[in-house]
Each structure stands twice: as C-alpha cells, then as structure tokens.
C-alpha cells in the first residue's frame, strides 16, 4: 500500500485562514482504497480544518482536493457535492439527531420518499436492520423510539453506519470514541474494522494513540497548520510519534 497506482483521495497543499489566523498552512495527503489513515496532532494544529475541507464544509483558500482522480472545482466544493462523490463524515458529538429514530439518523438528509412527499418508513427500517447486521451491532430494542434511548456505543455505531452506507469511497471519523466508555469503544472499533473489509478508505482523527496504533495503516502528523510527517504504522514507535506531534 506504499505507492498505490490510484489514490482515492489527494489533498494538494490546501490552506485556510480565519480572519487573519492561518488555521491550516499546507495540508497535503494521499489516501488509497481500503486503507485506514490516522491524522494526529495537538489541539489547534489544524486537523479539524483539514477534514472540514475534505468534507466540503470549508472551501480552501488555496490548493484543492481530488477524489477518484477528479479535481473538485471551487464552485463544487460543497458538502452536498462531496457527499455525492461518496465521502461521509462522522463528527464526534454532532453525529446524530437525538430525538429521531435510528432509521432516520441512518438516512439523514437522504430520507427515501413515496409519492414525492411521504417518508418510506418500511424501506428505512429494512435498510437499518441490514446495516446493523452488517456491522454486527446487536441488542437494538426498537427502531421506532428516539435514538437517545440507545447506548452511546449504539448511537455512534448508527452514525458510522450512516457514513459507510453512503460513503462508498471514503469515511472520515472525527474522534469517534472520545465520548464513549471502554466497552462502547470496543464496539465502535470493531465497526471500523468491518469498514476495512469493504475496501472503503477511512480517515481517523483520534487523540487516543493506542487506538491509532490498533487501527491505522498509516499516520499523518499535523503540526502548526502543516502536514509535517508521515509514517507507516509498523515503522514508528509511540515515542517517535509523540515527538513528531509536539515538535513537528
């Protein structure tokens, strides 16, 4: 996986400033199908800005991204367009609508319709059962109750389920287990390993370096707005990684 013929995603020297402050100076990376790439860095290093650009939430000031070898034009750099290209993001605490059902959360923004205006409940429930089975998430009591009645791990699994159900190409996970307990974290990590089997590429942002080493194939370090270093997982120790995160 070191030098794949066709990367699924290329980020070419993107930068972004907010009112004179350069949150991201030079962000560059490549991603191959089926690969789990971890982005690590200190708080404020520019990780979130980088993934928001990849997701289409932010438009870069300079540089561009290409997905499947196709450069995304400035006017197309929107969430809607990039989602259509098969890229999905799971944000750490913004992933779900708590008062809605699991099926609604799975179909967020893509609710299947009958006669143009009605919700196709049956289709939503069937698909939800399918996705839950595929991710091996069990013990979901009811698909008709608000998702907030489920455990944190199950909620996050649904959010990730949404990402992989639609993100055929790339799934971006922003601190997916930051708010979860140990058992629930295990459940979510199992789900991440299921994604790998589907040949979908994953970008993982995590502060938990143990987790990064458990899951990632490759690591990119972001330091003061630059993607400063890159390691294969089996070519680096935690100490070297911590040094790269703190000193660039």
């Amino acid at each position: 996986m070191n030098s794949p013929a066709k990367p699924i995603l290329e980020v070419n020297s993107v930068s972004k400033a907010f009112g004179g402050v350069e949150a991201l100076r030079d962000g560059s990376l490549k991603l191959s199908p089926g690969e789990v790439l971890a982005i690590v860095g200190a708080n404020g290093a520019g990780k979130s800005t980088l993934i928001k650009i990849i997701a289409g939430v932010l438009t870069p000031d300079r540089g561009d991204i290409s997905i499947k070898g196709k450069s995304i034009a400035r006017q197309d750099h929107t969430v809607g367009f990039i989602r259509q290209m098969g890229v999905e993001v799971v944000y750490q605490d913004l992933a779900i609508v708590p008062n809605m059902t699991a099926p609604y959360n799975l179909f967020l923004g893509r609710v299947p319709r009958k006669f143009g205006i009605f919700v196709d409940e049956k289709k939503m429930q069937e698909k939800t059962r399918e996705v839950l089975a595929e991710l091996k998430v069990e013990t979901v009591q009811s698909l008709k109750r608000p998702i907030s009645e489920m455990s944190g791990g199950q909620q996050q699994s649904i959010a990730i389920g949404r990402a992989i159900a639609w993100g055929k190409e790339i799934v971006i996970l922003d601190e997916p287990t930051a708010a979860l307990g140990p058992n629930e974290t295990q459940q979510v990590e199992r789900v991440i390993n299921e994604i790998r089997k589907r040949n979908t590429a994953t970008i993982l942002i995590s502060h938990n370096l143990d987790q990064v080493f458990r899951l990632a194939d490759r690591l990119v370090v972001v330091h003061q707005g630059n993607t400063s270093k890159e390691f294969m997982r089996n070519e680096v120790t935690i100490d070297e990684l911590v040094k790269a995160i703190t000193t660039g």
Partner: protein, 353 residues
C-alpha cells in the same frame, strides 16, 4: 456493566431507588424507569383534560355537561386550535411565533378586503397575506440570525399597526343579506357565516387537523421539523439548506394562521382592528398544554387538539361556575405553568434564560 462515571452519578439516587423498589416500581433513573417516566409524561395532556372535565362536571353538573354547552365549546375551539397548529409547526423546530395573533387580525381584514374587491373567492387574499407575514418572519429570523422571539415580537407590533393604517380603524362586516346602510362597509356572504356555525365549523377543523396530522407524521417535511428541533447543526453538516427550510416552516405556519383568520371571520362575522389580540398567548398555551416541549424536537397534532380543547374547556367551565374573568385568566396562567413544568424534561436543559 456500569462504568465508574455511571457509578458515581448513581450514588445520590440510592434512596430513590430503594423507595421505588419498595413500591414495586423500576428506579426512575434506570433505563426501564426512564421509559416508564417518559410514558407517563407522554400522557399528561390526556390525564389533564380528563381531570378538567370531571372537575367542572362535578362543580357545575348538567349546566356544564349539556349538548348545548359542548356545541358551544366545539364552536369556540377551532380558531384557537388552528392558531395552535401554526404555533406547533414553529415550536417543533425549537422556535416560537408570537406574531400569530396580529397576523390573524391582519389577514382576516385582508380576506374581507379581498372579498370586497374580487367577490367570494377573494378570501384567498387573506391566506396569501398570512403566508407573506410568515415568509417575512422566516426570512428575517434565518437570514439575519435574529432570534424568532424578537423577530416575531417586532412583527406582532408592526403588523397590528399596519392593520390600523390599512383599515383606518373601521371594521368590515359579513352579512347574509345586502346592506343598505352606506356608513357600514360590508360583504354579503351567507356561506361564510354558515361555515362559522356548528357543525360546519367542526367538519372544517377536523379536516384540517387530519391533513396536518398526515403532514406532521408521514411526510419528509414533518420529519425534518422535528429533526431541526433536535439538532440543527447535524442537519447543516449533512448539506440540508436549513435557512430555506426555516422560511418554509414559517410560511406553513402563516398558512395555518390564514385558515384561522378565515374561520375567525366566519365566526365573528366581522374583520376588526382588535381581532386576534392576545390570542398568540393562548396559542402557545394550547401547544404547551398539549405536551409539546417548547425547546423543540417533539410534538403531536392530536395532543395539540387536546391542549386547545383543555384551554377552551377551562375558560368555559370557569365562566359557567361564575368565576370572574380576571380570576379565570389567573387560573389559566397557572395551568400553563403547571403543564409546562410537567412536560419539560429538565435533564436535557442546561441553561434557562
């Protein structure tokens, strides 16, 4: 298995747990307990209306529990209910619209003017006027990011003032025969006055309620209302155009106000400068009595019907029992506070402003 954090937060509730256990009930802070408490909370509107009916039946007997009085209640409720429906749409998204009373007065007058100018179908002007106010509310609120409370408060004042200017303080009357008195502006529309009577008024309202229930529960629009109230940020991040949707919501609420103003015109037989004054508060109260949380995300058309009915019954019952109007208002205000207190899930609220 509970984590350490959970264990810590569970400690203060130990006494509660044993008490609940002694009563053979699940601990209210356990998952089963929460479901149980939620179910009870879900049914508050039905329990409330039952208690209210029983209370007034007990106090006033047959004077309250008569066909004549219930016919009266059936005539009294629709205008309030339709306004409460408008409020329900907005409140479900977590916003509020306190301009509905002024909008009702304004659009009823525009409907009457429309009929004066264009004949019977001219009442549609009133519906469009109400929707226009709704669109303005939605646009100001979402595009300028001014809270819906402030936006619609300003609109409450402006729209009432515009009504005074447009009407010059004069009313337009609806009559069932040609009027010869040239000092009075009137339109002849017997069908409209008939619509304001029982049972037509009831059929109309039930029809609207059923249609709204379908929209609210079965359509993508209805689902998105609740989702917007639940987590607006997530909707934005999934690429849904939240601003445009908010304008649609306020326009839909405006449409409901238009229907309410139409029924108000039919029932009162006149478009006046005062029409709808203070009704916005009753509309909010009806929604709250229907168990709809004012912080958004949840709501029910059926329970809003129950809420509007409860409010009407309380007003009616107190009048029959001989309670003076001011005391009746105080009782209804207290009822509102109690209803909201019970329906709120305080655990989900961090800050109250």
């Amino acid at each position: 298995m509970a984590s350490d954090v959970e264990k810590k937060t569970m400690l203060p509730n130990m006494e509660n747990r044993t008490l609940m256990a002694r009563l053979g009930l699940p601990n209210w802070d356990s998952p089963e307990g929460r479901v149980w408490v939620n179910r009870l909370r879900d049914n508050v509107p039905f329990i409330a209306i039952t208690l209210v009916i029983l209370l007034f039946w007990f106090i006033s007997g047959d004077r309250f529990m008569s066909v004549r009085n219930w016919t009266f209640i059936a005539q009294q409720t629709p205008v309030l209910l339709l306004l409460a429906f408008a409020q329900l749409l907005v409140v479900t998204t977590g916003s509020i619209d306190i301009s509905v009373g002024s909008n009702l007065g304004f659009s009823a007058y525009m409907a009457a003017l429309g009929m004066l100018w264009f004949g019977e179908l001219g009442f549609i002007v009133g519906i469009f006027a109400a929707m226009l106010i709704g669109v303005l509310n939605g646009a100001i609120f979402s595009l300028f990011k001014i809270s819906s409370f402030v936006t619609t408060l300003a609109m409450l004042i402006i729209v009432r003032a515009v009504l005074v200017i447009v009407s010059d303080g004069r009313s337009i009357y609806v009559s069932d025969q040609p009027m010869s008195n040239s000092n009075i502006t009137s339109i002849e529309a017997k069908w409209l006055l008939d619509l304001g009577q029982f049972p037509q008024i009831l059929y109309f309202t039930v029809l609207v309620a059923v249609l709204l229930w379908i929209v609210y529960e079965k359509t993508v629009f209805g689902q998105q209302l609740k989702a917007l109230g639940g987590n607006e940020k997530v909707l934005r991040l999934t690429g849904i155009s939240v601003n445009w949707f908010k304008i649609q919501v306020f326009a839909a609420a405006g449409f409901m106000v238009g229907l309410a103003s139409f029924i108000n015109l039919a029932r009162s037989g006149a478009a006046t400068v005062q029409a709808g004054e203070m009704l916005e508060l009753d509309a909010i109260a009806a929604v709250a009595l229907g168990g709809t949380v004012l912080t958004g995300g949840y709501g029910s058309v059926l329970k809003t019907v129950v809420g509007a009915l409860t409010l009407t019954i309380v007003a009616n019952g107190l009048t029959i029992a001989g309670v003076p109007p001011s005391w009746s208002r105080i009782a209804r205000g207290l009822l509102l506070i109690i209803a909201i207190a019970i329906s709120l899930n305080r655990k989900q609220i961090d800050v109250v402003k």
